[in-house]
Symmetry: C2
Subunit: 589 residues, 2 copies
Amino acid sequence: MAMTLARHLPILDWGARYDRATFTSDLMAGVVVTIMLIPQSLAYATLAGLPPQMGLYASIAPLIAYAIFGTSRAMAVGPVAVVSLMTASAASRIAAPGSPLYIHAALALALMSGVMMLAMGLLRMGALAKLLSNPVVNGFTMASSVIIAASQIGPLIGVTTSGQTLSVIGRTFVGHFASFNPRTAILGLGALAFLFWVRKGLKPLLLALGLKDPAAGLVAKAGPVLAITATTLAVRVFGLSAVGVATVGRVPTGLPPWTPPPAAGPVWLQMAPPALFISIIGFVSSISVAQALAAKRRQRIEPSQELVGLGVANIASALTGGFPITGGFARSVVNFDAGAETPAAGAITAVGLAVAAVAFTPLLYFLPIATLSATIIVAVLSLVDFRELAWVWRYSKRDFAAMAATMILTVTVGVEVGLGAGVVLSILLYLQRSSQPHAAIVGQVPGTQHFRNVDRLDVITSPEVLTLRIDESLSFTNAQWLEGKVLEAIVDQPTVRHVVLMCSAVNHIDSSALESLVALTRALTEAGVTLHLSEVKGVVMDPLRRSSLMESLTGRVFLTQYDAFRTLAPGVCDSRAPELAENIAGDGI
Amino acid sequence: MAMTLARHLPILDWGARYDRATFTSDLMAGVVVTIMLIPQSLAYATLAGLPPQMGLYASIAPLIAYAIFGTSRAMAVGPVAVVSLMTASAASRIAAPGSPLYIHAALALALMSGVMMLAMGLLRMGALAKLLSNPVVNGFTMASSVIIAASQIGPLIGVTTSGQTLSVIGRTFVGHFASFNPRTAILGLGALAFLFWVRKGLKPLLLALGLKDPAAGLVAKAGPVLAITATTLAVRVFGLSAVGVATVGRVPTGLPPWTPPPAAGPVWLQMAPPALFISIIGFVSSISVAQALAAKRRQRIEPSQELVGLGVANIASALTGGFPITGGFARSVVNFDAGAETPAAGAITAVGLAVAAVAFTPLLYFLPIATLSATIIVAVLSLVDFRELAWVWRYSKRDFAAMAATMILTVTVGVEVGLGAGVVLSILLYLQRSSQPHAAIVGQVPGTQHFRNVDRLDVITSPEVLTLRIDESLSFTNAQWLEGKVLEAIVDQPTVRHVVLMCSAVNHIDSSALESLVALTRALTEAGVTLHLSEVKGVVMDPLRRSSLMESLTGRVFLTQYDAFRTLAPGVCDSRAPELAENIAGDGI
């Protein structure tokens, strides 16, 4: 019972052993992530088309909820770029960004995706996330990053843009180009250049100045805070907001407000499909970060409990004026590198953000929107790596097709269509692959009991015995293929009296394939040919024993292919090979 | 060129060798099928909610088109029960049965499903049909048959019913029960009893009367014609149509009318999804009949060309006042048994139907609708075999789930939802199976080079070398599973220094699984463990050589598992086994 409770409340596990040393580590990590998360939470709220304080709200209660229910020790949750884009895409379909209905939609998305994650976690349906292949997730992330970066070019130079596809963003950019503001552009491009330099140049500089390595890396992460401080001061000192430089403006001061879930309405129905997409993408990107970090310390991640943690965190976000959140890659790595040992680091970050929400919001009045855009651009461009495209192309054309389709549709049509099409396409390509399996006619390698492809090696075959090695499990996707393949083979070789299907690589046979095998048996019988099986695995043989195939099978099931060949073609088989087969007990390979 | 043309026009192939003997065989079969098809074509048109002559029209031009373009020698195409039900289901969604708009919808369905089949055939996309597993197709066919039989109970006794789900049919049956007509019921139930007797009792009787076997069987197929003649005469002689027995009434006399495709309109858009379902179900049921019959004579069926044949046949149906058609199981078997040797038998049937359309339609005036209902009930009940449910349940719970869901949803919600849900569910179950593969820790069987499951046999293992045999191809569905499995295994066995993945049953590795393997390599390296592969097949190894795995792999790729064990655990490995591995050239198993 205690075990079960700890499984559902991981805090009971690590909390019981919490000590001062762990706290010191967690405190350090919590502070570093706070400094990193303040500008990010403001920026991603803006990206989602929401008031900046919602970014702060989404980084307080959810972090505490995740600290209690999450399994990853180093995961830092909060608003992330891709999910913010998806939120904007879904909410802007029913309302104008920033309007009450729009905010209502964002809250609904957080609540529904939270409930969906929680339900999937409790029902142990984390496996649904497996429908997303890496090429689809990576293609989607890259395409989303490109859209996000493009959407921020306008704000960076004072031009208002809108939309979540490249063409809409481009069109509004051209349409509003008259609002171009040179002062905004100087601030924005300056911040952008500074942030890019911070990524590459600040750490080496700090090292040269005598700072030690982990510290130098962590201080460098404060770059965005530096950019924000400098540009905010510039606006304040030079009175730039009076001459057209857009700023964040008044941000309400105080802790996140209790936001009871709004009454059911048409908004809920409209937001359900995007909420599902958000929960799946949120989970998939989060779990991969969590697993990568856990592996480094030989810790375990329980995917279903991870869904529970993220689900409760999103529900907490919705109830405290936030929007959909998930585990962030960059901030989790920072958290890990800064020494986070338990989810308490996240709770400390939450406290930091709460302090910011209570005390620092007036300071944000003169913060230029352009600086937030620069922060976003630098963050998302780190997710784009076109070398990914190159190696996937080299490795698998099929996977590349799924990736390219996802990217193109995401950029041109939208995030949901792109992601949905990618999932469907990768499943279809997967089925297509299994529907066109590899199979080889094999013969005996002289002097051994091994059987190999007749096309690759000089092997012993019999004109009367045809052995086909099937390199795929048999299922409805390829049931007809096998039938066709065998029937063609006996048409090509009319002397054949026995067909042996060598099943060493067959991991399961479904009922469609079973019917096809029964039909094949009949067809072969009518053609005067006997069908045998060899090297059938135990897990495959067990259900076959209960099936009608055993009644209609005219031939035998041989333990090994060598047994089959020696029995069916005694005159041809090379029996010099030692009688290994006799030594082996058990059934199947 | 000639070869290519013959591939697209199979008539050129068999037509060139056509002779008098073949014609005699085809003529016999053509006549038998004509006699069988006249009542069926009228009945299925009624089932589809269309005027009876449309059934005749759908059995003339399409048969000629199929004779030219189809590849099956014995296939008899025309209206079939399930496709007629699907036509009724789709068309009745936008119009009242029999209305001009309804007929327009039926023509649109035939044209669109024809164009879709033709396109799939020309693009060699017949593989799409593989998305339908046998449990789904069989479940759908059985459920449709139950609906069809239920829908004909009313007309059988004079009660008008409507709808394509059991609840609607039942409700209208109760609502219209006042129209119950005892005379109709006597005719209908009499015809039904006679037809059931014909199936079981007529052939033995004919044999007892001295008829030889194939002839007796074929004459027995004329049962429906006998029932039609007898009941029509009864209506005529006793003046039953004046006392409420519904009859076919006036059927226009003449050849099928040229029906140009109607202009594009909203109907087309609404009929597109059902047309896709019809083309897929039509193709799947047709191809399985064609393959079964072809196998008996060692002939080949080209699925893509079969799609072309059925596509052109459906287009021909739409252009000559017909509705969607496909290959029928019962009539194709009759055609085959009656000796059909080429598709010319189908053309002869078409001529027979054309003669009927020109000369016999006045005779149909007094044909009772109840007799047609009896014909339909007897025909569809032969498709229902609940033993199918029993064996699928015994063999595979997964397949049974797909079958049961298809049946329940088809009967309760409708044909398209049922079929769609069945397809989606069987794909999800398929992915789920591959996402939870079987894997075994293996050890050396003493005195051999074989490696078996440590749980099944007493085998040699080393505390430092862990060998995992993976019984599934690696893909995005199970990429994370493998990573988790290996990492858990080394957590359980802390002495492990080498992990060997035995890949004899791995038939492909996609890029998601590749990334996972690379991540696994890194995680193992950080844990001080080396990762090796063994028995990687040639087809899997080729792309791996081009991948980043080869750079990050800390261990080796061994040709055989025995090589791996002997190299990594020389002190433990039983080397008495003969050195077979050395004799084998080539790469992979």
